[in-house]
């Protein structure tokens, strides 16, 4: 088997007294979409913050393509791994135009042809040139999330981390953003880790999921298995039942 794109072994995170992640282990193959599902306080977002180096205090082993992940990685790391945040209203600097927000990563890494790259990045997420010099407050939630995706992709990473990318959006906008993410994944052969509380969203995007509860991965399974068996772990079963309780009976 090829070297996994992401390998996590016995990851532990403590915030003071609180033991937030307890021996979390999983691995993601190159080009795979991997889902982390759980409710608030399950530690799913903490996993992403460790992977993205936003949280440097952890123990265990994390490796990207076989290379050990350090708590404070160098610049090159950020060209490999990028992240999209949950709240499109909080993840764009309110006093920077879209153009400035997209130019920033290019300037940091000293990439050439910034104008062309910004134009291409906007086009890639389905926004036309007219958006380029607007401020975030002139954009809708869905448009902002597209900008956030463009910003994550402008450095051409191989791994994209998604932290509840659609939970702040209307369902019709959610569909557009999820479709966009799938298109991009296909085009660029990205490896994705998607964190969500919404089992249906994860099921739509990922083939394999880990269900998290109180800092532990209680079950890892393929979506097909979950759908068929309803899960092995009692918590998985509860989560699945809760998601189905509101599903429309006899849906087409």
């Amino acid at each position: 088997m090829a070297t996994p794109a992401i390998e996590v072994e016995n990851l532990n995170v403590r915030f003071g007294e609180a033991h937030v992640l307890k021996d979390v282990s999983f691995s993601v193959a190159p080009g795979e979409s991997y889902g982390l599902v759980g409710e608030s306080g399950s530690g799913k977002s903490t996993v992403l913050r460790v992977l993205s180096a936003l949280n440097p205090n952890w123990s265990g082993r994390v490796a990207f393509s076989g290379e050990a992940h350090r708590a404070r990685p160098d610049e090159a790391f950020f060209r490999q791994v990028q992240m999209v945040f949950q709240d499109p209203f909080g993840s764009l600097h309110p006093r920077m135009t879209i153009d400035a927000a997209l130019a920033e990563p290019l300037a940091i890494h000293g990439l050439d042809r910034p104008d062309e790259r910004i134009a291409a990045a906007l086009k890639g997420v389905g926004l036309d040139e007219g958006f380029r010099f607007r401020y975030p407050h002139q954009l809708s939630g869905g448009q902002r999330q597209r900008v956030a995706i463009a910003r994550a992709l402008i450095l051409e990473p191989r791994i994209l981390l998604l932290d509840e990318p659609t939970s702040a959006l209307d369902v019709s906008i959610q569909a557009e953003v999820l479709n966009l993410l799938q298109d991009i994944k296909k085009q660029r052969d990205l490896t994705m880790v998607l964190v969500s509380h919404n089992l249906a969203v994860v099921g739509h995007m990922c083939a394999r999921v880990a269900v998290m509860n109180r800092g532990i991965i209680v079950e890892e399974a393929s979506i097909d298995d979950l759908r068929r068996t309803g899960g092995q772990d009692p918590y998985t079963q509860e989560l699945l039942a809760a998601s189905r309780h509101v599903a429309i009976p006899g849906a087409a």
């Binding site: 180096a53 990028q82 949950q86 600097h93 309110p94 006093r95 135009t97 010099f133 450095l155």
Partner: protein, 296 residues
């Protein structure tokens, strides 16, 4: 006119400049909604104009003494009367705008950046940096400003330059506090996490991403503080530690006028009125600016 308006209000700006001017235009429109802030702005602009054209509009030389004309009440020849040395008070008040503005501007350009930098660094890095910087700030905050300024002037010797240094040394701590409080919120925002994820250095994050967010509250704080700075400068002048005679500084003029306050009220009243008006102008403008800049 309508094309300019369209250019400014365009929902699809075509360049960086257009986006920036559009933003300014929206802020200006918000400011226009507030008549008191506009009044403040008018006062400030009037102050600037008066200071610029002082030599042409003042009817007399502000330091020329004429002892035969001393302590004359307001009249057609001397609109604000004359002081104990027979100098025209109107001319002195007009020239006083220059001193006042100089003090205010010098203090502001030294205090704003220092306070902003100390506050953002302290808030962004936290830990030891925060503790050290904030304890220093606390020490400065612990003394009443005027008393501390007095101590500085006493050590440095009286004079307008030393007064500026003294005021600047005592004025920055509140700015650092404001900037730090803002930074504590901002540093946890997702957009800061996003630039960290792009590999930006700490310095870049602080200067390019944190500082612009703190800037509005510091600017507002500055305009609100202007009044206080003018009053401290006047206070130092009043105590004889600021501008030295015969320069026409408003505080010093009031100090002199104190001796005659019951019989020749105009000597102290008109410089006092000027201080009042300018302080009010900056305050009103600062209040309005807060609403405009905090909108987003």
């Amino acid at each position: 006119m309508s094309t300019l308006r369209e250019y400014l209000t365009s929902e699809r700006p075509a360049s960086r400049q257009q986006a920036r001017w559009g933003q300014y235009y929206r802020q200006w429109r918000a400011l226009k909604q507030n008549p008191l802030a506009l009044l403040g702005l008018v006062i400030i602009i009037a102050l600037l104009i008066v200071a610029a054209v002082a030599p042409w509009i003042s009817p007399y030389d502000p330091i020329a003494q004429n002892l035969s004309q001393r302590l004359l009440p307001p009249s057609a020849a001397h609109w604000m009367g004359t002081d104990e040395l027979g100098r025209d008070i109107l001319s002195r008040v007009i020239y006083g705008t220059r001193l006042t503005l100089a003090v205010v501007l010098l203090v502001v350009i030294s205090v704003g950046p220092v306070g902003l930098l100390i506050g953002t660094l302290s808030g962004y890095f936290g830990g030891v940096v925060d503790t050290v910087l904030m304890r220093v700030t606390d020490i400065f905050l612990a003394f009443p400003r005027l008393v501390l300024a007095l101590a500085f002037v006493a050590a440095l010797g009286p004079g307008i330059e030393n007064a500026v240094i003294a005021i600047a040394c005592t004025a920055w701590p509140p700015y650092a506090r404001v900037a730090r409080a803002e930074t504590l919120v901002i540093r946890n925002a997702d957009y800061i996490a996003a630039v960290r994820l792009q590999g930006a250095s700490h310095l870049r994050i602080v200067l390019r991403h944190v500082v612009p967010m703190c800037l509005p509250s510091v600017i507002v704080r500055t305009t609100l503080d202007m009044a206080g700075i003018i009053l401290i400068a006047a206070g130092l002048g009043f105590l004889g530690l600021g501008a030295q005679p015969p320069s026409p500084e408003w505080g010093a003029m009031i100090a002199k006028g104190r001796e005659y306050i019951f019989d020749q009220w105009w000597v102290a009243a008109f410089p006092g009125l000027a201080i009042c008006l300018v302080a009010l102008g900056f305050n009103l403008f600062g209040d309005g600016l807060r609403d405009v800049l905090d909108a987003r």
